[in-house]
Structure formats: structure tokens, C-alpha cells
Amino acid sequence: MHRPSPWLWVAAIAAYAFLYVPLVIVVVYSFNDSRLNAEWVGFMLDWYRKLFANEEMLRAAGNSLLIGLVASAVSTVLGTMAGVAMSRYRLRLLPVLVLTPIAIPEILMGVSLLIFFVLLNLTLGLVSVALAHIAFCIGFVAIVVRARLAGMDESLTEAARDCGATPWQTFRYVTLPLIMPGVIAGALMAFTLSIDDFVITFFTAGAGTVTLPLQIYSMIKIAVTPEVNAVSTLLMLLTLLLIIVASRLSPNLFRSD
């Protein structure tokens, strides 16, 4: 039995440190006694107090969370289907349509979706933003799921079929558990992309729709105050909480064995 070598531990911990040093700064600065996110002055809780009085920011955070959950859920389902399809069948159009949204500059996609929605006379709002997010998240999920399936043993699924399982049963009880780590990885990526998206959201949001990135980027020319650090810290904690709660409630949902 192999224990990971000490070098592996060192390298991995270095990577985690790289990931977390900026985050520690983000959280610590949410208590900074200075309007600017530039250097430490002193400790105060005022930003959290201001945040809870700031209806706009809270509503923006709520919108971002909602869109994020919906967009990642739908794009995970569609992306998994796409990943499975690309891995199993010879397809020509789907791989291109899956990869291109990742490659295409966001601003082009944002403007073109806006023009499209206007042509369709679709009211801009949370729905239009969610539809846009799903479009660019599908690709990320599909690629991860396909990578997971690459080289995977077909004999398991064939055996299930031979035993008389329907395609759905095969998928549900054989394939899905096998690809679950890929599906989860994809879902996490999709959620991350959605709650942080600015450019596409800017163009597809309606006249009263604000998401957190929109709110924050509009502050960029004046000052991105530590209120933003506070709301980011809280949003992270809330999302973490949601996931822990969800995994406790359905422990089998995330099982991969």
C-alpha cells in the first residue's frame, strides 16, 4: 500500500498555500478600518454592519446565488449528457459546439446573446442571465465528464446490458456512479463560473437585475470597499454551508463507489 511520498505532501501544501494566501487577505481585510482594499489600518466590524443595511448588495448576492444554483444544475445535467455522448458516440457537431463557448471572447458572446434576446423579444432579467450562463457552462462540465470516461471500461456497461438492464438503469446504477467525481467536478466549476461572471451578465441583465459581480464592478472606478470583502466572505461560507447540508441530507448523492 502506498502512502503519498513526502514530496507530494510538500508540493500539495505549497499549492494550497498559493490558493489560500490571497483568500486570507480577502477575509482579513473585510475587517479593515479603511475604505480601500489596499493596506491594513485597523480592525472594525463596521463593514459587516454596513453590508446588512445595504439592500442592493444583499439582493445582488441573492441573485448571484440563485442564478448560480440554477445555471450549474442545468448545465451539469446537459453537460454530463454531452460528455457521455461525446465519449460514447462519434459526433461531429456537438464537440465543436461544446468547446467553442469556452474559446469565444465573452464580450462577443454577451453582445450576440443580447441582440438575440432582443430579437426574440425576451424580457431581460434573471432568466436571460441564467440562460446565458448555462450556455457557457455546459462546455466545462462536458469536457471534465468526457475526460473521466476516457479509457473507461466498457465491459461493465455491457455486462449490465447483458444482465437485462434498460439503458436508463445501466446509466443510473453503473455509468453515473463511475463518472460521479467528474460530474461533481464539473458542477463545482459551473457554479464558480456563474457566480463570478461579469461580462456576459452585464449584457444580458435587465434594467432592474443586479448580480454581485455587476454591483462590484460598477464600484471599480470609485472604491471597492471592504463591504465587498464582507459579502464575498459570507457568500463563500453560505455556499460551503449549503453543500455540507446537501451532502449530509443525501450522503449517497456524492458517493463515487
Binding site: M1, H2, L8, W9, A11, A12, A14, A15, Y16, F18, L19, V21, P22, L23, I25, V26, Y29, E39, L78, A82, V84, A85, L94, L97, L99, T100, I102, A103, I104, P105, E106, V111, S112, I115, F116, A135, F136, I138, F140, I143, V144, A147, R148, A150, P167, G182, I184, A185, L188, M189, F191, I195, D196, I216, I220, V228, N229, S232, L235, M236
Partner: protein, 302 residues
């Protein structure tokens, strides 16, 4: 058997249909509208000129394409972006591999938590994470003082860490790291430990086990991660905008300028098409190389 073949093709449409449909409606069609714009002229005050002008002539031309191919500066910027994206991808791979391996090899009950810990920082807003890097790399912060102190000992003039290509690259790697870790993890997680045990029993040392077994098996994950880092990194503009130096203009910045300063949608569309095609082409080449490598027996059948 005919029934399994029709069942097979029906299965194919059932599985690939919904995502295909969604992407056609909400991606392909809107994008085609803007692709068509690359053949038009910019509108007088923004947007596009009318499709049919007063004389009844259809507004279709290749001006914007000609501009891209006749002025070398755009290609230079494009090349620089490719270099930045390649460096970012490579650095992400170096950092992500040990991390993904550690998570994949950990006990079952810790895996999800460790994975979550990787992505947790990225649920805070992008902008303040970049601002955090500005604090870390600032001239009065510990890191800069330390580095310049060392350089000073060797007699080299102090070098700015912020507003430089270094800052841009560090931030690019930072922002894209999870997109390399997650696909790698998804792939490494399924590697059979028994293979490595057998190899060790046969006398292979750690490096040989890695290079001849683990790495080739992980190639699909590596390529997936590389695609999910390289392709978005190619088009990024926010990071050079916020902490780049005066020479750090990338193709993403140029494209943004076309839409938001010059109001030249056709040219922005042309640059976007070139970027997208190049990204897809490079991804295609990488996939082709991967396939040839696999076919030539470079991988071990699990």
C-alpha cells in the same frame, strides 16, 4: 441486431440531443449573428451600419479581415497572448498535478472536503482576489521587499513586482488553477493502485512509476485541464487591465477595446473569430497528438 442498432441511434439522440439543441439555440445562432457582423461596416455612432443602405446595396465586405491581415501589430499581440496562455497552462499543470494526486490518493471520506477546499477561494469575487494580489505584490509589502533585498545584495536594481508581466502571470495561474485541478483529479481518481503496486514489486522506483504508468494514464485529464486553462486564458482581459504593466496588452484587451472604445463591432468580431479558430485549432492538434500517442501504444491498457 436491428433492434439494438435503432436503440443505439435512438440512445445517441436521446443523450446528445438536449445539449445539442440548447447550444444551437442559445449559442450557435446568436454567435452566427455576430459572425455575420464581421462582414459588415461599423455603424456611424456604434453598433452596425444598416444592412441595406440607401442605394439598396447590401453591406457585405472584407474590410475588417483585410485590416487584420495587413497590419502586423494585431498578430504580434495575438502571439504574445499565446505565449502567456502557454506559460500559464504549464505552471498550472506543475502546481495542480501534486495537488490532484494528493486528493485522489486520500481516504474516501476526505476527498470531497479536500476538493471543496480547492475551489472554495473561487467563490469569493474575482476582483477582490486580484486586489489581494495587488496587496501581496505591492512595493511596500514583504514579498517585494524580500525579493528586492536579495537582488540588491547581488547588485541588481529593484524590480517592480506589481504592474508587470510577472504579476499578470501569477494572477493568471492563480485564477485558472482549479480548472486544472478538477479535471486532473477526476481522471487520477480512477487510477488503479494495484498497477502501481505491481510495478513497485517488479522493481520500478517512484519516478519510473510516475512517468511510465501514472502520467500516461492521466493524459486525458491533463489535456482536459490544459484545454480548460489555455483556451480561457487566451482571451482574458481583466487581469492585464488591473495589474498589468504598460506592455501587457493581450488580445482579450484588444477585442474589448473594439467593442467598448472604438465601437468597431466588425473588427472585434474578426479578432474574436481568429482567436476562437486558433484556440480550437490548437485544441484539435493537441487532441490529435494525444490520440496518436495513445494509438502508438504509449498508454497501458487498464
Amino acid at each position: 441486431m436491428t433492434s439494438s442498432r435503432t436503440a443505439g441511434s435512438r440512445g445517441k439522440w436521446l443523450v446528445s440531443g438536449p445539449p445539442l439543441l440548447y447550444l444551437i439555440i442559445f449559442f450557435a445562432i446568436p454567435t452566427l449573428i455576430m459572425l455575420a457582423a464581421s462582414f459588415r461596416t461599423p455603424g456611424e455612432f456604434g453598433g452596425l451600419a444598416p444592412l441595406v443602405d440607401e442605394t439598396g446595396k447590401l453591406d457585405v465586405n472584407l474590410e475588417s479581415y483585410a485590416r487584420f491581415f495587413t497590419e502586423p501589430v494585431y498578430f504580434e499581440v495575438f502571439l504574445k497572448s499565446v505565449v502567456y496562455a502557454l506559460v500559464t497552462t504549464f505552471c498550472c499543470l506543475l502546481l495542480a498535478y501534486p495537488l490532484a494526486t494528493l486528493i485522489a490518493r486520500s481516504a474516501q471520506r476526505y476527498r470531497d472536503l479536500l476538493l471543496l477546499l480547492v475551489i472554495l477561494p473561487f467563490w469569493s469575487n474575482f476582483l477582490i482576489r486580484v486586489y489581494a494580489w495587488m496587496i501581496i505584490l505591492g512595493p511596500n509589502a514583504a514579498l517585494a521587499k524580500g525579493v528586492n533585498g536579495v537582488l540588491g545584495l547581488v547588485g541588481i536594481a529593484p524590480v517592480p513586482l506589481l504592474f508587470s508581466s510577472f504579476a499578470v502571470l501569477v494572477c493568471l495561474v492563480y485564477v485558472h488553477l482549479p480548472f486544472m485541478v478538477l479535471p486532473l483529479y477526476a481522471n487520477l481518481e480512477k487510477h488503479d493502485q494495484a498497477l502501481l503496486d505491481a510495478a513497485q514489486d517488479l522493481g520500478a522506483n517512484a519516478w519510473q512509476r510516475f512517468w511510465r504508468i501514472t502520467f500516461p494514464l492521466s493524459l486525458p485529464g491533463v489535456y482536459a485541464g490544459a484545454a480548460l486553462v489555455f483556451i480561457p486564458a487566451l482571451g482574458i482581459f481583466a487581469i492585464p487591465d488591473i495589474l498589468g504593466g504598460p506592455n501587457d496588452t493581450l488580445i482579450g484587451n484588444l477585442i474589448k477595446q473594439q467593442f467598448l472604445e472604438t465601437r468597431d463591432w466588425p473588427f472585434g468580431s474578426v479578432l474574436s473569430i481568429v482567436l476562437t479558430l486558433a484556440a480550437l485549432a490548437l485544441a484539435g492538434i493537441a487532441a490529435w497528438v494525444a490520440k496518436r500517442h495513445a494509438d502508438a501504444g504509449g498508454t497501458i491498457d487498464a
